[in-house]
Subunit: 416 residues, 2 copies
């Protein structure tokens, strides 16, 4: 038998079709989780699954999947190997992030089905809900992983109103979200293909990055609280201008990372000024802060340094400070078994590879306590990501999908 | 005949009634120009005017007024003396700013009417549209003053969508706005009572501030333009973070004024981040900048210093910069005739007074080229303004209204 490989043209057609949902016309997509465009993309995905006679599944967290049963399906010991990614995007994001992994996972199952490959375990191609966190973050995979708690849904980082609106649009409920945990005994692993979102593979001229760990991430909302005053009649000395504290912190956060945390990053993605008039001294500014570190030590120390600095800047400008902790994902090592399956697949296919730490969070981290998880990256041109400029050469996408296919065959334990 | 004076209880009832429109429950009001709450307040005002048998007028700019005809009304040389202020508020503003001047002007006309005082000129109590500039700024008075041009309405500082929505709600048109200019020969003057919005009267323990000049104001929208990138996978060195330039400028604007422009003020009232995700490096930040100076020299120099600094900070963080000039009001001296009428009225009423520069812009500046204009201030407790904490003792409000009444009698040239 010739070696199985994915159908490049068919996967390309899927990729291009998916990129039309929420297309911003500049190569990017606007497909926030559970938005109308996201739900339309998911209806399209369901059609593709059913069109080829595969079983479509949806769980209480809205996770969509194609399910390929093993001949051993009836045996209680038969596990399921997950492959997948997500179809949601950040606001005005790119068309590769998540989407590539979903169409590749779908293609892997289609190839196995059309070649009548019978495996000793089930395969399931997943589209996890809200990986990007426009609502909660890693929502669907956290639900499957059993991390999700009712309190996480009370103050979602995208705001409670947006979250409730999304649930209503998708016909989901909080109760449903909290009831989709899967037992460890049911899962054989989780494998994901993703774009690198950085420029290390391009610079090193390697085909495939094999992820060794996913960085830890923490997020806060920091509210600097001053006093609304007339911006014409209040002297500069008398002001308690919340914008000054927020601005000083934003500059300081960058400087702290550059100076003391070379392996880390920090981002102030947004400031919300209130009341927001040209002629009113800002009474409050809410700063959206997120930072990442590859080790437990670094994330603890960076957390401390940033929060202490926020307090200092608030004090300096005579402001109050409300610190709202939004969540923490600890750094997550990838499974050795999955890393070896990917490396062996690359070697078999003659593709160069290198180990990488993922600077982005991914659904794999939600499942790492349940089963062996692994990820591969393919090169991102110019390292661009979360942007319409996101781009990966199609041959690299195909390479990644073939590595995913071969690694899945290894992890799935061969023929039944 | 006993000296005329305003009816404190009646004016208080009006003041309290007006403060209910858009009340935020904490003493403040949310009554942006041409919002539903603002239009409701204006319907109430119209009822008060018509209830006492005065003539209600509205012009193409939406300016509302009570009109008290002189017995000389038919004579072509008979002028009109305007008194008034505005009923719109800044977002989450106070209940005194503007509202006090409107209820005082209404009360002045009511007192004259109920006492059958016949003057040689008409009196008109004005509520000017959009003094605060949530849409355009000094909109109604600029229209009356003939400054308003079609192009001013194309890029209103509150945004074109908000402006169009306001016009639609109020049943106004741009054409109507541009057709309400009044000839200089028709106007005898404009007098306004307002709260100080600062703490000079309180500190000096004076009853009345007589305004000598209104500061000049300039406003810009500065757009710092970076690049959207993934905030986890893009190194700190590789970022073009628009938030860094905007923050550095915001800190610098304050420092420039404190160091080199002691008689001036500057405010960054808002920053708008795009795309705004926690995990996306900000691609652009739009900074709302406003600054004020009491003389032509100072406003020109401060303008130059701020814009040069914005360019420098953009360059420092490898950002683009789009500079959108939103408008300039030059410093405006008040009429000597009006200042004398106010001073004589204070002296007659036994009230202490002092000259003041107004740090805020007011409708008087739109009319200064047409007729003698003048303003008085009454003390603001703690200097608070554009805030729910805005407060003036009621006895000071009454003092101000009585000075307005007596000065209006002087300016109106006594009995017909």
């Amino acid at each position: 038998m010739t070696k199985l490989s994915i159908n490049s043209e068919r996967m390309r057609a899927d990729f291009d079709a998916l990129a039309q949902f929420g297309s911003t016309g500049d190569g990017g997509v606007q497909r926030p989780s559970l938005s109308e465009t996201h739900l339309a993309a998911r209806r399209w995905l369901r059609e593709q699954i059913e069109k080829v006679g595969m079983e479509f599944r949806i769980d209480g967290a809205g996770n969509h999947s194609a399910f390929l049963k093993s001949p051993n399906y009836q045996l209680p010991i038969t596990k399921t190997l997950l492959v997948g990614s997500h179809t949601d995007s950040v606001p005005y994001g790119g068309r590769f992030d998540g989407a590539l992994g979903v169409v590749a996972a779908l293609e892997v199952l289609r190839v196995l089905k059309e070649n009548n490959i019978e495996l000793s375990m089930n395969l399931e191609a997943m589209d996890f809900t809200d990986e990007e966190g426009t609502l909660v973050g890693l929502l669907g995979s956290s639900a499957v992983g059993g991390h999700l708690r009712a309190e996480h849904l009370q103050k979602p980082r995208g705001g409670r109103d947006a979250f409730e609106a999304g649930l209503a649009r998708a016909g989901l409920t909080e109760q449903g979200m909290l009831s989709v945990e899967r037992p460890a005994r049911s899962l054989a692993g989780y494998l994901e293909l993703h774009i690198e979102q950085g420029n290390r593979l391009i610079n090193a001229q390697k085909n495939i990055g094999i992820v060794t760990a996913i960085v830890g991430i923490m997020a806060y909302r920091l509210k600097f609280i001053g006093r609304a005053d007339h911006a014409g009649t209040t002297s500069m000395q008398d002001r308690r201008d919340a914008g000054q504290g927020a601005s000083a912190f934003t500059l300081a956060a960058r400087e702290i990372v550059l100076k003391d945390f070379p392996r880390c990053v920090a981002n102030v993605g947004k400031m919300e000024f209130a009341p927001g008039g040209f002629n009113i001294v800002p009474a409050s500014v809410v700063v959206s802060l997120e930072f990442r570190a590859p080790s437990d030590d670094e994330i603890v120390q960076l957390d401390h340094a940033l929060i202490e600095r926020a307090k200092l800047e608030a004090e300096r400008f005579n402001l109050g400070l409300e610190i709202e902790f939004l969540g923490k994902h600890s750094p997550t090592p990838m499974s050795q078994v999955a890393q070896k399956a990917f490396a062996d697949a690359c070697d078999e296919l003659g593709l160069s590879h290198m180990p990488l730490v993922s600077g982005a969070g991914h659904d794999a981290q939600s499942l790492a306590h349940l089963c062996p998880v692994g990820m591969i990256f393919v090169p991102s041109v110019n390292g661009a990501s979360h942007s319409p400029r996101e781009f990966t050469e199609w041959c690299d996408c195909v390479n990644g999908a073939n590595v995913l296919l071969q690694a899945a065959l290894r992890m799935a334990g061969g023929a039944a």
